[in-house]
């Protein structure tokens, strides 16, 4: 726009006025567009924007639902994992008590068989153990030998041997279970107490609210027996 010299003519003044108006309008419109997006639009534009927003909101809703489902899965997975761990721990405890690898404590009875005359034989002790088991004993020890499924009683050179370990009188038997049931089982006519007294030994039973079976049985791997796989059909 190369003009000779600015002159204050009517044309110039009018053009200047219009230019002022134009600049004003441009600045206003730009500012308007920046600050108030929606109020200056027409109905069809607003409808398009509304459709867009609805679509996006439904997509986000779906996203939120999927994330919620994943979160629920993870939460329930973690709790079921904890439940599985608890179940495994309980099983471990139960098997430990049975196998004699875990100490046990609880209510039970203390039975002392005194045998100064050496009349007690391994079958007598075995009988005592069987009677206790029949009465519901869950953990048994004789002197300091833990009685487990594989325990065997034999007559050794110096006396009775349990699992190859020598035990001497008085035989102190500790059994954890229901005290009343076990002590009454020992006292039934023709039961253990009567047999022991008949062969000339003494027997003394005391019920305890809390006693500990602290003897442990060393764990040994079976050399011949192997577990059957769960899915294989078992042979009769």
């Amino acid at each position: 726009m190369l003009m000779a010299r600015p002159r204050a003519t009517k044309a110039n003044a009018l053009a200047a006025l219009l230019a002022i108006l134009l600049g004003f309008a441009v600045a206003t419109q730009v500012r308007q567009n920046q600050s108030l997006g929606l109020e200056s639009l027409r109905q069809s534009d607003l409808l398009t924007i509304l459709d867009d927003a609805t679509l996006r909101s439904s997509r986000l809703d779906q996203n939120a639902r999927e994330l919620q489902a994943t979160r629920d899965q993870l939460v329930s997975g973690s709790t079921s994992g904890a439940a599985a761990v608890r179940a495994a721990q309980e099983r471990l405890d139960a098997l430990g008590i049975l196998a004699g690898t875990a100490r046990a404590h609880g209510p039970g009875i203390r039975m002392t068989i005194g045998d100064p005359g050496g009349k007690v034989t391994p079958p007598v002790l075995l009988d005592a153990i069987q009677e206790l088991r029949d009465a519901g004993a869950e953990a048994i020890q004789v002197n300091n030998v833990r009685i487990v499924a594989s325990s065997h009683f034999s007559q050794g050179a110096s006396g009775i041997e349990i699992d190859g370990r020598s035990v001497t009188q008085p035989y102190a038997i500790a059994a954890i279970g229901d005290p009343a049931t076990m002590s009454s089982a020992m006292e039934i006519p023709g039961g253990l107490s009567e047999n022991v007294r008949q062969i000339g030994a003494t027997i003394d039973i005391a019920q305890e609210k809390e006693l500990t079976v602290g003897a442990l049985h060393p764990l040994s791997e079976p050399r011949y027996a192997r577990p059957v796989p769960p899915s294989a059909p078992t042979t009769p």
């Binding site: 110039n12 006025l17 230019a19 600049g23 309008a25 441009v26 419109q29 200056s40 027409r42 109905q43």
Partner: protein
């Protein structure tokens, strides 16, 4: 020169004064601005061609603005508002381009 200064003054005034556009006029202001720009470029081209007439410029400026706004308003009432607005913007854009091309030929001799 004076109109260019006037333009700058108007821009500054618009930026600093924060005017609020009346709600009824809000959809038409952009179209009006484009139409006014078309008139301004036409005026500049007329100056460079040596055929500038201030009356023609003022009338064309005002009539451009009014007609563009009216066409868009009519389109809104008839229900073809966005299409007509697009059409007006396209036509004004074509005219601005052709005026600017003329100006360019004058200024850069190219």
């Amino acid at each position: 020169m004076i109109p260019a200064l006037g333009l700058l003054v108007g821009l500054a005034a618009g930026l600093f004064l924060h005017p609020v556009v009346p709600l009824a006029l809000q959809p038409y202001l952009p179209i009006a601005v484009i139409a006014a720009l078309d008139a301004v470029f036409g005026g500049v081209r007329a100056v460079l061609d040596g055929i500038f007439n201030d009356k023609v410029f003022v009338v064309s400026f005002l009539s451009n603005v009014v007609v563009a706004a009216f066409i868009v308003f009519l389109g809104d009432q008839l229900g073809v508002g966005s299409q007509l607005s697009t059409g007006v913007v396209v036509v004004l854009g074509i005219r601005i381009f052709s005026n600017v091309a003329s100006i360019r030929r004058h200024v850069f001799r190219a």
